[in-house]
């Protein structure tokens, strides 16, 4: 039981990468908007896309963690 919990926790570490990625993307987007406020819409769209892509890794980790708990626990 405790080992499956540890496995799920390790799987949840994917959130680290996703958080870093989204943070960096948002920082750059803020920079870009500050530099070119007129490109607001385009940057927003790209940021949204990038965030969704980065978030996907966290989602994968989440799914894996749930599977570990469900099937191994």
């Amino acid at each position: 039981m405790s080992l499956t919990a540890i496995g799920a926790a390790i799987a949840a570490f994917t959130g680290l990468g996703a958080g870093l990625g989204i943070g960096i993307a948002t920082a750059k987007a803020t920079d870009a908007v500050a530099r070119q406020p007129e490109a607001d819409g385009k940057i927003m769209k790209l940021l949204l896309l990038g965030c969704a892509l980065a978030e996907a890794t966290a989602i994968y980790g989440f799914v894996v963690a749930i599977m570990i708990i469900l099937f191994l626990g």
């Binding site: 896309l49 969704a52 996907a56 989602i59 994968y60 799914v63 749930i66 469900l70």
Partner: protein, 229 residues
């Protein structure tokens, strides 16, 4: 261990709704299919209500809203697809409507159809087929086959792999997001059933669902745009 019970109930339940007496369970209809029928019917009725009795002059507010909506959503799709890929705008819009409707199903207390892997796999397969069809239609079979060796021949295996990776990533991202949102919502509802889940429901059911629908459509149109160029 009640949380585990909740998860088991949510994730391991039997998804089959209509059992067919033949086919050894292979021809059964999942809940997601029936739910899709329901929201397709609702969308159809809404469309009929909104588009009946359209006039050229002296338009009603209802008609103005429909026209504005159609122009807006088509502009959105064409903006994502580019001018060359605007033949696929209707397909993109119907996928968007399908996903938006099924993702916000969680609001009505049912499991969203997109939480069924069958649905997301089907959508991803249709998407990749559309992407390749778009490539073949605009470049011809030869040009389409040659495009795998772009920009250099060395990465041709990567491009072929992308044929599998793209739909897999599309389907898994959608499935995982909706699964995650639904699981979190179920857990919240289990912890505090009244009032507390409302703002989370706003985020997970509406915002996240629509964002995921948009992302799916955005990526599909990005691939189509790349294929027709």
């Amino acid at each position: 261990m009640e949380i585990k019970e909740v998860l088991k109930e949510l994730l391991l339940e039997d998804k089959t709704l209509i059992h067919m007496p033949f086919g050894n369970g292979n021809c059964d209809f999942n809940k997601s299919i029936v739910l899709s029928w329901v929201f397709i019917l609702v969308v159809f009725i809404l469309i009929l209500i909104f588009t009946h009795n359209m006039k050229v002059h002296n338009i009603s507010k209802r008609q103005a809203a429909v026209e504005g909506f159609v122009l807006w959503i088509r502009g959105l799709a064409v903006g994502m697809l580019g001018e060359e890929g605007k033949d696929y705008a209707t397909y993109i819009i119907s996928v968007l409507v399908f996903l938006a409707c099924s993702n916000v199903m969680g609001l009505f207390g049912v499991v969203p159809p997109t939480m069924d892997l069958n649905v997301t796999v089907a959508l991803a397969l249709v998407s990749i087929v559309m992407v390749e069809v778009a490539g073949i239609r605009s470049k011809g079979v030869k040009g389409w086959a040659k495009a795998f060796a772009q920009p250099m021949a060395v990465i041709a295996p990567m491009n072929v792999l992308e044929l599998a990776i793209r739909p897999l990533s599309l389907c898994m991202r959608l499935f995982g997001n909706i699964l995650g949102a639904t699981v979190i919502m179920e857990l919240l509802k289990h912890l505090i059933p009244v009032g507390f889940p409302v703002p989370f429901s706003l985020y997970f059911d509406i915002f996240d669902g629509l964002i995921q629908a948009y992302v799916f459509v955005f990526l599909t149109s990005l691939y189509i745009k790349e294929a027709v160029e």
